[in-house]
Amino acid sequence: MGVVQGLEGREEWDYNGCVVPLDLYYEIETQTWLRVNEDGTVTMGLTDVGQVRAGRLLHARIKDVGKVIRKGKPVASLESGKWAGPINALVEGEVVERNEKVLEQPDIINYDPYGEGWIARLKPVDLQRDIKDLLYGREAIEDMKKYIEEWDIICMRCT
């Protein structure tokens, strides 16, 4: 447990094998992450803890490019053998890119939730307004730890 230097030199916190990169925003309840890109768009995905809770993902649907999604409404839906649920937009915005690889092989999310397993890229309507509700990096550690303990989660990348 603790903050370590992860792959690609980014700082990461890990607990029970669950990795939390410290350069991302998080919503703990839905176990989703958000990255603000240099061009002002945001990328979203499921956390390491989220992929473990879901189990090996078998099916993914992502909203079409051009759709405007309100904050809290589904931008994607995922399904495994024991879990099916939405990935809600963490900020209001227009879908500008879907991860086609995830649509073809959803379990990429299980292997690489913060990298190849990203889900969608959105162009936010009002990033400053919506991002206030998210926890950034180290701010997320305490709540993430509580969540991991409450659900008794041990993270593994192969399912």
Binding site: R61, E79, G81, W83, A84, G85
Partner: protein, 337 residues
């Protein structure tokens, strides 16, 4: 082909196309359901899976879960499952553990259990040591107990009566090669499945047989015969599920499940064979766009219920004039509605 784009009741059905000719054929099933069951349709979401799509989710906590008396173990290791269906179940491999687990679940608000497990090499789930505990779970904890069995003999069938189980679930196979090849039971035949049905019915159980569509490596083989066998024994309900290639061994993994249109014809056949008994779609079926079509055809074929309906299906049912009833229970309880 009918496209639902533009006139669909739910945005997720925009790209769905249904075959006009098949829909016309299915009308007979829908007429049967209206005649004998009216407009109620059950949408089940038992607690062993978190299930939330845009137009359907259960707001209450889990109420019905499944337990495996063999944990993850199965001696048979059939080609279509390789025991994976047991992996997500709650293990309780001794009677003492079953009692402890049932008490813990009761405290968490669970009021129904599906008790199952892996089979031995004769296709039997060895439930005998658990019967007394099951009776205690029923009598002292007041839980609904259904039991998913393999092949049964008279002793087990009567033991299940003694245990006061509420329903007995059994997979019925109507093809000898499927029994030998997929289920690894070359020394058993459809006669053994029919005998199990007979013994369970004679004992007076609420009988809820299951037919797995596409069980023979994705082909439709013994499904129609299995339905015929079941119809003779007036079950409390029939559950139809679809083989899930992901759960299978290597020979299954890359196979496509049966064509949705072929599966729809099996549903219609079941509806016609059991016009006065509930016919429901169970929880096991592959995810993805094909499931959307499967569920829509099932509605048109007049099923009484669908477990974990695909996105948009709940809304579509309402648009068809059906009256959706949401249930947190296992679909095997449909006969109680």
């Amino acid at each position: 082909m009918i496209s639902l784009g533009g006139k669909n009741p739910h945005p997720s059905l925009e790209d769905v196309e249904l075959e006009q000719e098949l829909l016309e054929e299915l009308q007979e099933g829908f007429r049967i359901r209206l005649e004998h069951f009216g407009r109620d349709i059950l949408f089940h979401s038992p607690g062993f899976k978190h299930y939330q799509v845009e137009d359907f989710s259960i707001k209450t906590g889990p109420k019905f879960v499944d337990i495996s008396i063999t944990g993850k173990n199965c001696e048979l290791m059939c080609d279509h499952c390789a025991s994976k269906i047991l992996w997500h179940m709650i293990p309780a491999t001794t009677p003492e553990e079953l009692w402890k687990v049932a008490n813990e679940l009761k405290l968490k608000g669970i009021d129904g259990l599906l008790i199952s497990g892996g089979s031995n090499k004769d296709g039997v789930v060895e439930l005998h040591p658990f019967l007394k505990t099951m009776k205690r779970v029923k009598e002292e904890l007041g839980m609904f107990v259904s039991c998913h069995v393999g092949l049964v003999d008279r002793e087990l069938s009567e033991g299940l009566v003694e245990a006061r189980v509420d329903a007995v679930l059994i997979d019925i196979i109507g093809d000898e090669e499927t029994i030998a090849q997929v289920y690894k039971l070359p020394h058993k035949s459809t006669r053994d499945y029919e005998e199990s049905l007979r013994l369970l019915k004679e004992a007076g159980h609420n009988l809820v047989p299951h037919v797995i569509i596409g069980l023979h490596y994705g082909e439709i083989r013994g499904e129609y015969r299995a339905i015929d066998m079941i119809a003779q024994y007036e079950p409390s309900a029939l559950v139809l599920v679809v083989v899930m290639p992901y759960f299978g061994k290597a020979r299954f993994q890359l196979l496509p499940p049966p064509k949705v249109e072929e599966s729809a014809k099996v549903i219609l056949y079941a509806r016609k064979a059991l016009p006065k008994r509930p016919v429901v779609i169970g929880c096991a079926r592959p995810a993805g766009p094909e499931r959307v079509k499967f569920d829509l055809y099932a509605l048109h074929a007049g099923v009484n219920g669908i477990t974990f309906p695909a996105e948009g299906v709940f809304t579509y049912a309402r648009e068809m004039g059906l009256n959706p009833v949401v249930s947190p229970n296992c679909c095997s309880t449909v006969f109680l509605h």
